[in-house]
Each structure stands twice: as structure tokens, then as C-alpha cells.
Amino acid sequence: MTMTETTLTVNGQTRTLDVEPRRLLADVIRQEFDIAGVHIGCAHGACGCCTVHIDGTPRLSCLTFAVQCDGRDIKTVESLGGFDATHVLQLAFKSEHGLQCGYCTPGFLMTLVPYVEENVARGTLPSDEDIREAMSGNICRCTGYHGIVAAVRKAIGDQIGGGQ
């Protein structure tokens, strides 16, 4: 086993590390960057909790080796609205009861932020069925999903001015 030199930028912080190839991006973000918003639920792709953005695109950080991300720009939930959680989708999760324990929430937010942005850019308010499809890779044990769907609808609706 050889260590591989890897340069990662996480939420604007760039570091070059010697990492074992077998280390998952999720673990490296949590342990080397001390960023705890990446949650690991299953470590085999089934729950969506560990979703981060790599060069702007959602990806499961439990199915990604850190060495694959050399030179890439990685964003976690902390990049959205900081510790005050002021991103429009975070505010909607709060007002629409889109979270309870919060374990799944970073994953839902990172999966759904680009989806909200795409719909706002197009000026389209998607159907609930379409919203559920967009979040189908994420599992929430608490909310029953209705509050999350309502939050997505609100975050898009408020921005395109169509209301709900």
C-alpha cells in the first residue's frame, strides 16, 4: 500500500495530504478537515446522507475515494448558509418542518440545492411527484418526507414568485 499525495479544496480551504487510497472522501472531510456536516449513514450508497458537491455536482462521498478528488473543489452543507443556516432552502426546511433529528438533512440539502436552482433558473414549479423523484436517493427516518417536499416547493415557489 502506497500513500498518494492529494490536493483537496473543501469549502475554500485547500490542503495537500498524503492519503491512503482506501480512505473514503467522507472520512477525509470529517477527520482531516474537521468538517462534521458530512454524515455517514450506510457507507454503501443507499441513504444519501453523505452527499457533497464535487465541482458543483452532487456525489455520494461514501462511494468516492479521496485520491480520486485530486485538484477538485468540494463543498459540504456548511458552504450553503453557514452555521446560521440562512440558505433559502435551509430556511424553508425550518419553516416547513423538513427536519426533526437532522441526521439526513445535510444530504437532502446538498442533493436538492442544485435541483432548486435549476427550477428557479427555468422558472418552473415542479410537481410533488417530480420533487420526490429528485430526492429518491435520500432516506429520512423521521419526517415522513411531506415536510421536505413542502420545503422544496416553498424554496422554488418563493423565488419564482408563483407562490404555492
Binding site: 500500500m1 502506497t2 498518494t4 491512503e20 487510497p21 482506501r22 480512505r23 473514503l24 472520512d27 457507507a43 454503501h44 450508497g45 444519501g48 452527499t51 455536482t57 452532487p58 456525489r59 455520494l60 461514501c62 462511494l63 468516492t64 475515494f65 485520491v67 480520486q68 442533493t111 423523484e133 429528485a134 429518491s136 436517493g137
Partner: protein, 287 residues
């Protein structure tokens, strides 16, 4: 759990990837989307000593070459939704993609990875068998084309030799108007299928002139049925005999029973999915 140790090699050309795979033999594996390999490694169901990352290789074309649609090994599942050639020529393929996992999985998973992983319930291996696709396999000593019907040998076992990798899959273009459909049932949408059915009907006006049908999830590899295909040819789009076709297909298959469903349940499911799938495909063509 976490993977056991391995060495990571990022290939920048196909020749380099093939040289590395030749060197490592059984100890090496290509890493494409990682959407099946990494879960297996995390669960220690796979412990490769060497991973050859092929993501930088230029294998992501979808284009017509000769009389086939060439799909590069690194084409990601989500591309099919917006590719006009898939919509125009392969409607059953397009419908099948909707059943693959979830958006984040479809954004990264690849054609080469899906066929090489050869999950018995996976959609793309079924689509390859349905369309008599050719799997293009390359190694340091050359290239060969393997018919999909001979490529899938068992659950998670393919005809690929150590040192070989898939570079593309070629789908023969249909010669006349066709319609197609793909339907499956799983516990939840995006879960692995209990069984799935794909059908392609070639037609001349109202008459069905050719038929292909495949079933995934029921056996360890996708299965076709010459009996159902022969039954459908000569019938009409208005009355394709979907119910009887379902009965024939279901009688011809001896399905597996597992934690998800019993063999008897799968038999019933194949009958009903076949009926619905043929009716849907015929309905689309006559609409």
C-alpha cells in the same frame, strides 16, 4: 465498514489502462463510476489489490457508427434521458433508464460498469440482451466483440477475461419502425427489481413484423423467449395477444426465489408485467 488496502492508478490513456490491467491480472480492476464497486469494497465483498481509475479516458461517445449505435463505456446513465438517438431508435432502452437507482447514482454510474458488474436485476444488461448488442472488450493483446447473449454467464460473472475491459457497447439500429417498453417492480422505485420486462416490436402498419422480449431479475442472467417472440410476430398492434404472451413467458421461466420474493410470486409477476409491457408498447405504436 471500510475497504481493505489497495494501490490507486489513474490511467490517462486506454493503452496505459490496458497495460496496467494486463500487469495486475486478477488482482486489478477498473474503477468507473464506483456506484457498485465501492459499496462492494466497503462491505469487503470485493478486495482488489489495484484499482485502475478509467474516468479520464475518452470513452464517452454516443454516436452512430455504421449500422449500430456506439455507446462508450464511460457514458453515464443520466445521458440517455436527453440523447435524441436513444429516444429515436431505442424507446425500451429509454424507459429502462428511469428504473435505474436514483438521480445521484445515474449521474455517475456508467455503461461499462453496469454490464461488467452484471447484477441479475440490473436494467442495462437486460437492455443489451434485448437488443442483441455487442460488448466491445479490449485488452493489451487486442479487441473482440462479444454478443450480449454470450456475455452474461451468471450473477456477477461475465465473459471478460482478466486484463480485459469494456470500451463500448454497440446496439444494432432497427431496420424499420419499432416501438418498445420496459417495466419492472421493486420494493421501492430505484431499488433492485424483483423482475423486469422489456419488449421491442417492429411493425409494418398495424402488423407486428418482429418481436423481442427480455426478462430481468427472474434468473441469474437476463432471459429472452423465442416462443413469445414467435407468438407475437404476425399479430396486430390492436390485438397483440398480450395476455397469452404473458402466460407463455411465465410458463417458460423457472424463476429464483429469494428474500425479496418467492419463485411463485415472480412467476405471477412475469405474466402480468409481460401483459402490461406488450400492451403499452403496442399502444404507443398505434397511437
Amino acid at each position: 465498514m471500510r475497504p481493505s488496502a489497495f494501490d490507486y492508478h489513474k490511467a490517462s490513456t486506454l493503452d496505459q489502462a490496458l497495460a496496467l490491467l494486463a500487469e495486475f491480472g486478477d488482482d486489478g480492476r477498473p474503477l468507473a463510476g464506483g456506484q457498485s464497486l465501492v459499496p462492494m469494497m466497503n462491505l469487503r465483498l470485493a478486495r482488489p489489490r489495484h484499482l485502475v481509475d478509467i474516468n479520464a479516458l475518452p470513452l464517452d461517445a454516443i454516436e452512430i457508427r455504421g449500422d449500430a449505435l456506439h455507446i462508450g463505456a464511460l457514458v453515464r446513465h443520466e445521458r440517455y434521458f436527453t440523447d435524441p438517438l436513444i429516444a429515436e431508435h431505442f424507446p425500451a432502452f429509454l424507459e429502462a433508464v428511469h428504473w435505474i437507482g436514483h438521480p445521484t447514482i445515474r449521474r455517475h454510474g456508467t455503461m461499462g460498469g453496469s454490464v461488467s458488474h452484471a447484477d441479475p436485476t440490473a436494467e442495462l444488461p437486460s437492455v443489451c440482451v434485448l437488443h442483441d448488442a455487442l460488448i466491445v472488450a479490449a485488452s493489451a493483446s487486442g479487441e473482440r466483440r462479444i454478443p450480449a447473449t454470450e456475455f452474461f454467464l451468471n450473477a456477477y460473472v461475465t465473459a471478460l477475461e482478466p486484463g480485459e475491459m469494456v470500451t463500448a457497447v454497440e446496439f444494432p439500429l432497427p431496420s424499420g419502425p419499432t416501438s418498445g417498453a420496459f417495466m419492472e417492480l421493486g420494493e421501492r422505485v430505484g431499488d433492485f427489481a424483483i423482475a423486469g420486462i422489456g419488449v421491442v416490436l417492429g411493425h409494418d402498419g398495424n402488423t407486428i413484423t418482429s418481436a423481442r422480449i427480455v426478462c430481468s431479475g427472474a434468473r441469474l442472467v437476463p432471459v429472452r423467449s423465442a416462443d413469445v417472440e414467435a407468438f407475437l410476430v404476425g399479430r396486430t398492434l390492436a390485438d397483440p395477444g398480450a395476455q397469452e404472451a404473458g402466460r407463455i413467458f411465465s410458463a417458460a421461466i423457472d424463476p429464483v426465489g429469494d428474500h425479496a420474493a418467492s419463485a411463485a410470486y415472480r412467476k405471477g409477476l412475469i405474466k402480468e408485467l409481460t401483459r402490461r409491457c406488450i400492451a403499452h408498447a403496442a399502444g404507443k405504436a398505434s397511437a
